[in-house]
């Protein structure tokens, strides 16, 4: 099989297989890269780089083995590459921390996906005003201080509100998973 990217349509079965698997794993890949990089813009770039490299190397991937772990290994490498490009930025983590976060994180997929699932339930437990606040704050490209200014609150106070909401959500997720695990 030709392993080099080709611009010749139509997509063959292998390409389709790749797209299927990639799309199914993209959310997890994004969350994984989020631990390693300082901002969402960096994450978006790294996701794209990862997809290109993964497709290029897809011929080496053994069908039947763990696609996600293979993808995360590529992503880990891409994150370190990005870190080196921004080595002088005061906002990146050290290489050591990135490697620790990546290596340990690769094994947590199942749990983290269960947490995402539980989150839907926990968001429903919040009041409508709290949900709207989160919805506004987590719009792509939005900075918290902008939302704070719109709501007429101090940035520090606003961060406290978000911090409490996040902690409450994680706690709810934990409880939810315990009861589900017991059931």
């Amino acid at each position: 099989m030709d392993s080099t990217p080709s611009s010749q349509p139509p997509p063959d079965a292998r390409y389709e297989s790749f797209v299927r698997q990639f799309v199914a794993r993209e959310a997890r890949l994004r969350a994984f890269l989020r631990t390693l990089l300082p901002a969402w813009e960096d994450v978006d770039d790294a996701v794209q780089e990862t997809s290109i490299v993964a497709w290029r190397k897809f011929a080496e991937f053994e069908e039947g083995t763990n696609f996600l772990n293979w993808l995360l290994a590529i992503a880990r490498f891409e994150a370190l590459k990005a870190r080196r490009r921004h080595a002088r930025s005061p906002l990146v983590f050290s290489e050591e921390v990135i490697e620790l976060l990546a290596d340990e994180g690769a094994d947590e997929t199942e749990r983290l996906e269960a947490e995402r699932h539980a989150l839907t339930h926990c968001l429903d437990q919040l009041g409508p005003a709290q949900r709207e606040l989160l919805e506004r704050s987590y719009q792509p490209g939005v900075k918290f201080h902008e939302i704070a200014a719109q709501a007429g609150r101090s940035a520090a106070g606003f961060y406290k509100v978000i911090q409490r909401l996040r902690a409450a959500l994680l706690e709810c997720i934990e409880r939810r998973m315990e009861t589900e695990g017991a059931a």
């Binding site: 139509p10 631990t35 005061p90 050290s94 719009q139 792509p140 939302i147």
Partner: protein, 534 residues
């Protein structure tokens, strides 16, 4: 591990506000402590899940919550072959197909003409409503735009599920299924859970409904809101948003926002509209009954069916002829067709849906003119010919009255000279202009046709208005009109082993009158006015 401190830092990291010092601090915390790293990964996971959720929620909601910065979708689809975007789309299209489990190629956009509508709400009920501008009737679909109700009451049902009761005079701008603007007047809104997020704009504030019932009164630049039930978030154009719950009210004018200012009794209770509408319907029904009792004495009537359902009819299939004096032999028998509600609650109708549904009648006599008139609710014009009244055999002198596939009314009378072969087209055919369109389907309408065998003129009416007038080229004066065995709502008594064309009406009929004379335009206008549902 200092969890509190870690979470403070993580929140700042999440908001994109981590300073270089804080970055170093977080880096150190994470390096030292595996538990901190685990917590941090959970936060990052939460972060990305929240971002997706917020993006989806906004994409699915009609209102813009933020003065949008350059938004990029969260899931920026990857492009391994970025240049070959078309290829990627091809691949996704293939997925869509295969996911549906069909190998049938999807029709190209150019190859299909699906009817579309920009409607986003429906005028569901009115009471003495006078609209400024184009006249609106209940059942009309409303496009984005302004509704000016000079007087009376109107109920609008938004496609999102929200319902608004408007008291005239009022001016409402419908923005979408999820949003409306009250320029002036009193509006009461009910928002079921499915329509949560429905937004009402008023001078100086935006009201977001969280599944509830509330009312708004706008006079000049002053908006007053009162919450009957549930919760409403009020976003004043300046100042903090406020949550209003049951019994609370808020008013807003040029000088600012104040609590109170509106009370429940300023607004018409919704059940009052229902009550008034019911009362009005009962009045109309009773007025029609009075008129109907008189009209049945009209000597010109051959048969008059009001589709009254007799509870003591053991067979439940009797369609009485109500002409006076009584002509019981002209009573009809329902086949298949089921009882349903007619123009008003309490008024019955027969519904024709299945190929077998029909009412069989047998009318004796020979006539020199006729008028056929009925109240019908057509649900769909889905066959080539859709029956109103057809004689069984279609022999000489027999009329056929049906709705043609293009929505026009079609009347014909058969006259075939003895020396002409059967295959020749010798029936006199008359078409009205199309009257059944998306707008007139599913509502009660009055149809009528008159025919005079001397002048040969056929005049067709829709809701009391003339929609066709014609004399056939084949007309010869003086040929008699006969009925014999015939059917309302269908055609043909199949003989053994023969197939029959399917012509059943898809709809309901709740009054059918057959006269042996031509009724005048004025008379048909009166009949329409006496019987109109509202």
């Amino acid at each position: 591990m200092n969890r509190e401190r870690l979470e403070t830092l993580v929140t700042r990291w999440s908001g994109g506000a981590l300073s270089p010092d804080e970055t170093r601090e977080l880096d150190a915390l994470l390096r030292e402590n595996a538990e901190a790293r685990r917590l941090f990964r959970r936060h990052a996971n939460l972060d990305s899940a929240l971002r997706e959720w917020a993006d989806e929620r906004t994409a699915n909601s009609p209102w813009q919550t933020i003065p949008a910065p350059a938004r990029t979708p969260v899931i920026r689809r990857f492009w391994p072959l970025a240049a070959a975007a078309g290829l990627m789309l091809g691949a996704l299209a293939w997925f869509v197909q295969s996911d549906r489990g069909t190998a049938v190629p999807q029709p190209s956009i150019a190859g299909t003409t699906e009817s579309t509508s920009q409607g986003c709400a429906m005028l569901s009920q009115t009471l003495d409503a006078n609209f400024t501008g184009p006249p609106l009737r209940s059942g009309d679909t409303l496009m984005p735009g302004t509704v000016r109700l000079a007087s009376g009451l109107a109920q609008i049902e938004f496609f999102s599920g929200a319902t608004a009761l408007i008291e005239g005079g009022a001016q409402i701008e419908i923005v979408s299924a999820w949003e409306a603007r009250v320029v002036s007047g009193r509006v009461r809104v009910h928002v079921p859970p499915a329509a949560k997020g429905f937004t009402l704009l008023a001078p100086g504030m935006k009201l977001e409904d969280l599944g509830t019932e509330f009312a708004l009164n706008v006079e000049g630049q002053t908006s007053a809101v009162h919450v009957f039930e549930g919760e409403v978030i009020a976003h004043p154009s300046s100042g903090e948003q406020q949550s209003l719950t049951q019994g609370m009210s808020l008013s807003r004018n040029a000088s600012g926002t104040t609590q109170g200012g509106a009370t429940a009794d300023q607004f018409l209770p919704v059940n009052e509209l229902q009550g008034l509408v019911k009362q009005r319907e009962a009045q109309r029904f009773s007025a029609w009954q009075d008129w109907s009792k008189q009209t049945r004495n009209d000597p010109r009537l051959i048969a008059y069916y009001t589709f009254k359902h007799w509870n003591d009819d053991r067979w439940d299939r009797l369609i009485n002829n109500f002409t006076e004096p009584k002509r019981k032999e002209r009573a009809g028998g329902a086949v298949g067709a089921r009882w349903t509600q007619g123009r008003w609650p309490g008024k019955e109708a027969l519904e024709f849906k299945r190929p077998g549904d029909r009412v069989r009648i047998n009318l004796d006599g020979t006539y020199s003119a006729l008028t056929l008139a009925c109240w019908v609710k057509v649900d769909s014009v889905d066959k080539k010919y859709n029956s109103l009244l057809l004689t069984d055999g279609y022999e000489n002198g027999e009329p056929h009255w049906q709705i043609y596939e293009d929505g026009s009314l079609m009347f014909s009378v058969m006259y075939r000279p003895a020396d002409v072969p059967r295959a020749a087209k010798d029936n006199q055919m008359y078409y009205s202009k199309p009257v059944f369109t998306a707008d007139s389907l599913g509502r009660w309408h009055h149809l009528a046709v008159t025919y005079d065998n001397q002048s040969g003129e056929v005049v067709q009416y829709f809701d009391g208005r003339e929609v066709g007038r014609e004399v056939s080229k084949l007309h010869q004066p003086g040929r008699p009109i006969v009925f014999g065995p015939c059917e309302i709502g269908n055609w043909g008594l199949p003989t053994t082993g023969h197939q029959f064309p399917i012509r059943n009406l898809n709809g309901a009929i709740d009054e059918f009158a057959i006269y042996g004379s031509v009724l005048t335009a004025a008379e048909l206008q009166t009949i329409f006015q006496q019987g109109r549902p509202e």
